[in-house]
Symmetry: none
Subunit: 419 residues, 2 copies
């Protein structure tokens, strides 16, 4: 079985958006063991879309498209596929009703052109869209499969995870299973270096490293007749990797660092409060992205200015002047004060220079991260100079989360190698 990816959208041809959909689908297909030799992009143009589809269908068993399912006259993908296979377009009433209810719920007018999104080529398998209006679909005809997915990445990825992947798996006799090991505070080249020999040794399961913003992931994938066999193949390799990277491993098959640590807070029934200067709310935002976080996250303050530090956390102006706003001492006071104010088990304080402007004392990218626990306050100093303002803020949050994670799992809060 091999597939092609065909992304539809003039905004991609104009370079207005980066085609992350193609990369996402490519990775998912690879993980499912489905070969993919071509990716293409065409604009919202009926003739070229038809040509692109025909070409892809001549080369592959399956074509996955993204985009062109919306309500406007230049959304043409469904109509083009129907014409290619000689299928009529039919109204799918449940999709129409769902859409009408959705518009009503938001108090928006359901304009006539939206109806178009509820018409599908006859016999299509429909994928619900729980993140937007346009459903996706699969059309099987003439020994080929065409899967049409919406263009907005959030809609497309959610639909793929929940509906398209199971649909594809149900068509295959082998199963592919993966686990992802999440590593923090270690670079990709170091990971590859340590792994090198065992990477070469393993063909099933395979081991693939991915450098992500702020972490490295190792994906272990096994192909087998069934799930149990796949798991049995992976188990010893997983254990070997987890032993090799020890406390750099913050989780397996977890969403991200903050999910891992909120899970840990929930298990232990511990609470946390945060005081942020340079991260400006990013830490609180990421914690509260998680549903139910309010049971363990008691609140926070964004004390960007010295006045705010004094007003909300009673940090004397004299102290800020003595130590400087960006200092180990002020980070400690932020963490301890917010912990006390909200009566939390743990308090976090972050102060640093996100840039681009400096303070004339520290290099831009210098950050002090404090974790106040009942028995002690830990401070880690970071220098995140590589990735600009957003990188400083991102890494400051990552290291704060990692300190909490390490504390809650009984590891040294500051790794010994960095002390």
């Amino acid at each position: 079985m091999n597939a092609e990816i065909l992304c539809v959208g003039t905004e991609i041809l104009l370079g207005d958006i980066v085609n992350t959909n193609a990369a996402y689908l490519a990775r998912e297909l690879a993980a499912l063991g489905i070969g993919c030799y071509y990716q293409s992009v065409v604009g919202d143009n009926a003739g070229r879309l038809a040509e692109g589809l025909q070409l892809a269908l001549s080369r592959a068993d399956m074509v996955i498209t993204t985009g062109g399912l919306g309500p406007t006259y230049d959304d043409l993908t469904k109509e083009t596929v129907a014409e290619l296979f000689g299928l009529s377009m039919e109204l799918h009433r449940p999709s129409l009703e769902k859409m009408e209810a959705m518009f009503k719920g938001r108090g928006r007018v359901f304009t006539k052109n939206n109806e178009k999104q509820a018409y599908f080529p006859k016999g299509a398998h429909i994928f619900d869209n729980d993140q937007g209006t346009a459903p996706g679909l699969a059309v099987e005809s003439q020994g080929k499969v065409v899967i049409l997915l919406p263009g907005p990445p959030r809609e497309m990825t959610a639909m793929f995870q929940k509906q398209v992947r199971p649909y594809l798996e149900s068509r295959s006799t082998r199963v592919l299973r993966s686990h992802t090991i999440h590593l923090f505070d270690i670079g990709e080249s170091t990971v590859e270096d340590r792994l090198h020999q065992s990477m070469l040794d393993h063909e099933n399961p395979t081991i693939a490293p991915y450098a992500k913003l702020g972490e490295v992931q190792l994906r272990v994938t096994a192909s087998a007749a069934d799930e149990a066999e796949a798991e049995a193949l992976m188990q010893p390799v997983m254990e070997e990797i987890c032993a090799l990277f020890a406390d750099h491993v913050y989780g397996v098959d977890v969403e991200d660092l903050q999910h891992a640590l909120v899970g840990r807070l929930q298990e232990l029934g511990q609470t946390i409060a945060v005081a942020e200067s340079c991260t400006g709310g990013a830490l609180a935002k990421r914690l509260t992205d998680i549903p139910g976080a309010s049971r363990n996250f008691l609140g926070g303050v964004v004390v960007y200015t010295n006045e705010a530090k004094a007003r909300f956390l009673d940090i004397p102006m004299a102290d800020i002047e003595e130590y400087g706003a960006v200092s180990r001492e002020i980070a400690e006071r932020l963490a301890r004060s917010v912990r006390g104010k909200l009566g939390a088990d743990l308090g976090v304080g972050i102060t640093g220079l996100a840039g681009p402007e400096g303070d004339g004392v520290h290099e831009v990218g210098t950050v002090f991260i404090a974790l106040a626990a009942p028995e002690e306050t830990f401070v880690r100093e970071g220098h995140f100079t590589l990735r600009g303002r957003s990188g400083v803020r991102l890494y400051a949050c990552q290291y704060a989360f990692d300190m909490i994670r390490r504390y809650l799992t009984g590891l040294p809060v500051i790794p010994e190698e960095t002390q």
Copy 2:
């Protein structure tokens, strides 16, 4: 003149990297007024690369490739182009000498396989690579042009800026210019409905709508002999659109809603403070994403719990019990209290139900957003039921930003149609 982009690399087909090169080149070609109707990706495979090139050359005047110029056996792009055009490969001595000097300068051994990078199809125009080893090249033959660029984005973009763009500009007589109009609080289908007739009427400039998360953009693009003529073509259309959508237009050629309003705060020298319940720091985070925001953003509190509301903002527990944490009254008190505490010109308070859990009173997605100004406190009630927890939080921020923007530009803070 039209072009195609053909990116070469198995790592793109596997989804290991996102194809930012294609987006970059697409944008540059659009800016040069060179049409581009297809983008493709093939792996490091001689047969498929040759097929992909032939297909692209059959459809376009010019093909730009990225990748496959390196020293290893699977770097095949130059050789494939040479074969296609029946050209021999010749050593380019200056490139070889430059490469040898570079290796020497870095104390690295110049291995034999690197020589391959100094061989080019006979008659090629060579683009120096000042960021890496493999030079790029242009081959003109049989009325077509093929431009071959290295795969690493840093090398490719530097080469494009300094050498390829001038090479292309010297071949073209037209320019393309665009403006983007940003709209808020109006759906894509309504935008299109209102625009429909004028969209059809205009061929130069063209008008294209894009639905983005939390807003709609309209891109106006003109083709002309020079920049002044392009601007003159766009001006009446821009004015017509801005009049048509009136106060839904929050900016032209701006980055996003928060940049537009921070710009406005800076112009007016006004300051702001925020108190967030359900958005949990997201509002502060987005404001402080902007460099220099600290001059106008005085700070914030994340008062997720009732205790935090009482502790940081002196909101009596009795009031919270009387009105409920999710209420118009509490939003007002949050906004007014944080404004007063930090001595800001404006205060924002947000309280709502981001879900998935409800409070037994309000529907999940119900949010109250308050803006406390010196003379009055405005409250807008929103029901963001469509896009899950992250959507509720996103839209709550968008509407808060829009209320501030409307206030600062003298518009009714709550649009009349929704009152």
